[in-house]
Symmetry: D2
Subunit: 130 residues, 4 copies
Amino acid sequence: MREFSYELRVYFSDTDAEGIVYHARYLDFAEHARTEMLRAIGYNQSQMKENGVIFVVKSMEIEYKKPAFLDDVLTVVTTAEEIKKFSAVFSQTIRRGEDEICLIRLKVASLSSDAKRIVPVPEHIAEVLK
Amino acid sequence: MREFSYELRVYFSDTDAEGIVYHARYLDFAEHARTEMLRAIGYNQSQMKENGVIFVVKSMEIEYKKPAFLDDVLTVVTTAEEIKKFSAVFSQTIRRGEDEICLIRLKVASLSSDAKRIVPVPEHIAEVLK
Amino acid sequence: MREFSYELRVYFSDTDAEGIVYHARYLDFAEHARTEMLRAIGYNQSQMKENGVIFVVKSMEIEYKKPAFLDDVLTVVTTAEEIKKFSAVFSQTIRRGEDEICLIRLKVASLSSDAKRIVPVPEHIAEVLK
Amino acid sequence: MREFSYELRVYFSDTDAEGIVYHARYLDFAEHARTEMLRAIGYNQSQMKENGVIFVVKSMEIEYKKPAFLDDVLTVVTTAEEIKKFSAVFSQTIRRGEDEICLIRLKVASLSSDAKRIVPVPEHIAEVLK
């Protein structure tokens, strides 16, 4: 499974005084989608932490295409672009129906659960996402 | 329908450095649940605004019973306690399974969409929630 | 020092699609003000945690009087109403100039830093706030 | 004035269960810093909106260098890299003392206040930031 779809609803708490979704809030939506992608392949992040691995965002590119509004239903499509030994690259497209709202590309590092050193991406995750 | 159940997942963006859900975040969860309750009886808040009515929180009591954690699934049970001409009282219980996490009781005022004067709670909402 | 004044500015990230400060966000402002009150008497919360004490919100009453808007300068006046052995009650008034925006009254419990049992409020804090 | 410095404190509401600042929250800090930069040259965003101009983030690159923690004091240094007719590029460095925490580069578009069409960057802003 290299692609994963996650649906969400926009609430007041996601919007700002422009009447649209606040631009930083898309990063939350994207994080929720990656979390559900990992859960769908059998991992939850609290378990991963117990097993000594956490994923930490190292860099991110975001392109804002169109605004989203209160009550919108958005879909986040997450694709594992690249799984390396100690890191992974995901791309995420946030859509409202056919409209592209926001495009995200990010690199996560695989760290020990105390965040002090890099550790290999767990094999099962690497295999399933590849 | 006087009672409405809404389920949500706790993500990193909901937690704080204590490792638990940040205490203000339960108000967001409660707002999402009330929004879905209104939607379930045929209203969404953007429509309500077009129809000239918005609900604004006037007061709130919160009791924090137990902490909630990353990856928890929480249920918000919302009850319309009282529907008056220009306001309504809701009580909301946030649970994790049998555990009570947070109890909320709040009063909302029914205002014109420019928030400048009170207006009656729409009849259909009053009838269905009573 | 029983009363402490904290000033803040309202940014886009604090507002919602109603064009006003999102109602849950006042709890963040209030938390920031309590944190600065503790810092002003020589405590910061990371230190308190190392010393084995954390303050956890147990209950809260909020009254919303008037909306606040983007670019507003708000002042949070925090008063230690009551310092007991294992808990404390604070009242907080959020103002914009002479206007009362939001009134908060809350009880915090003094817990061990693993949040597992109640511990006495540190003596120095109790003395200074009384 | 092409460079502007803005200082902030990290509170519980900015952190997540990893014990560090939540990665999306740096975008809020960066937005607050740009807002204060504009205010320092005589603009506030509510006024700009009345004058028919808003700045909307179109794209962003973020690099996370080191984590920041509760109670940290951070400085956001904002530089106007490029002021074009209808857009501007800013780079922002978030530091804790000598440590680089987070690097942001973003492009904003200058839009009419209903966000429906592009309009020129106000001349005074363009001149001062150049």
